[in-house]
């Protein structure tokens, strides 16, 4: 059973890394946070309903761990809310793609994490709202409300970043 969990973790490692980065986990903290995600996965593996898709369940765990880590970090290190993509090696060689991603991460970082999570799950992972509400343990109405606000905030944040242009990025 534990090994099944380990295989699932290995299989979804890229997805988890992406989700954590989108949730605002700093590059330097990614390894530690990933390990915490694995420990929670391991502890909760028996509760995972195999009939349901794995990724929303994983995202729910990643969201909780990232939220906890975020509170810890903001308490220990003031500021540093968003960290630009690691410059040593980008995920792509394509400069425009890197800029797009940095722009999106910068805009997402300005959203409260609860709304950001809903937006990421729905708009990027294409998870149905009902599933999102279930995985985040919130009423469906709340999930929709967060999505609506998150979309607005994303637009505003992007407009601000575009306006800032080269200064910010």
């Amino acid at each position: 059973m534990a090994h099944e969990c380990l295989h699932a973790y290995q299989r979804e490692l890229d997805y988890l890394i992406g989700s954590l980065r989108r949730l605002g986990v700093r590059f330097a903290d990614t390894e530690d946070v990933l390990h915490e995600v694995f420990l929670v996965m391991l502890a909760r593996w028996d509760d995972y309903d195999r009939a349901r898709p794995l990724r929303p369940w994983l995202f729910g765990i990643a969201f909780r761990v990232a939220s906890t880590q975020r509170r810890r970090t903001t308490r220990e290190v003031l500021g540093g809310d968003h960290e630009a993509e690691d410059q040593r090696r980008g995920p792509d060689d394509d400069m425009a793609a890197k800029e797009d991603r940095a722009l999106l991460l910068g805009a997402l970082a300005q959203l409260p994490i609860e709304r950001r999570a809903v937006l990421i799950m729905h708009e990027l992972d294409e998870i149905p709202m009902r599933e999102i509400a279930q995985q985040l343990s919130i009423p469906l109405f709340t999930a929709y409300s967060r999505l609506r606000k998150a979309r607005h905030e994303l637009d505003v944040a992007l407009a601000r970043l575009y306006k800032g242009g080269a200064r910010a990025w």
């Binding site: 534990a2 490692l13 502890a43 909760r44 343990s137 609506r148």
Partner: protein, 248 residues
């Protein structure tokens, strides 16, 4: 309709491109192999590696070991010395297990509310329904025997540890909210379930804080003294001292 607010074209285009590059997050292989190595080693140990209680700052939270590895030899030596000292001082009775605790004096607290885990608040989701306070049998669970190399024992230890964490997490979060009555109730729940559990020490330290917060200073001081006596070399003693004016 709810959630139907359209995104701007710019945002939509950006999100679409990000969706198409869903696999563009590949970290380098060195990171992945390090992460997998840690995961495997966590599986191999009795106690889930890297899970520790950190009572400073955010309170009860899992802490990964990387930053803790450097002082590990010193900590191991200190623990060994503490164990030897305790054994020679007769702190342990004939068995090597912790002495049975006396019952806690009654605290003036409201009836225990059902532990609740806020969204995004707790690291671990609440304990499964079968372990909920109302339905749970009051019998304490014995600490599992530790037999090296026994997979089922390892698994049991890991599960117990996770369950204990899940029981203590509401106490920790109640403390940070200033809801000391709820914290004491959650701690009582842990004590009933695991009187000599793997996290007893952390529970007792949290209890001192909760009693102090409730204004039950004599009880808090007594609990602090008992803690000091029972865990004379505990790292949590410094945590208690660090609370300054807020704790004994």
């Amino acid at each position: 309709m709810l959630g139907r607010r359209p995104l701007s074209d710019r945002a939509r285009a950006l999100l679409e491109r990000e969706r198409e590059r869903a696999h563009g997050w590949e970290a380098d292989e060195a990171i992945k192999s390090r992460v997998m190595r840690r995961a495997r080693s966590a599986l191999e140990r009795d106690r889930p590696s890297g899970v520790g209680l950190r009572l400073v700052g955010s309170g009860l939270a899992t802490v990964t070991p990387r930053r803790w590895l450097r002082p590990l030899p010193l900590v191991a030596a200190a623990l060994a010395a503490a164990g030897l000292a305790a054994a020679s001082a007769g702190l342990y009775s004939s068995s090597s297990r912790e002495p049975e605790e006396k019952p806690w004096p009654p605290a003036n607290v409201a009836p225990p509310p059902r532990p609740r885990v806020a969204v995004g608040g707790a690291l671990l989701p609440a304990a499964p329904a079968s372990q909920a306070p109302a339905e749970r049998a009051p019998e304490p669970r014995p600490a599992p025997a530790t037999t090296a190399g026994n997979d089922s024992t390892r698994s049991l230890n890991v599960k117990q540890y996770a369950t204990e964490l899940a029981l203590l997490e509401p106490a920790r979060s109640s403390l940070s909210r200033g809801d000391y009555s709820a914290a004491l109730s959650a701690l009582g729940q842990h004590r009933r379930e695991f009187p000599n559990g793997q996290l007893s020490q952390e529970r007792e330290a949290l209890r001192v804080r909760a009693l102090w917060g409730l204004g039950q200073k004599p009880a808090a001081l007594a609990a602090a003294r008992a803690f000091r006596k029972r865990y004379p070399r505990s790292a949590l003693l410094s945590w208690l001292k660090d609370q300054g004016d807020q704790a004994p």
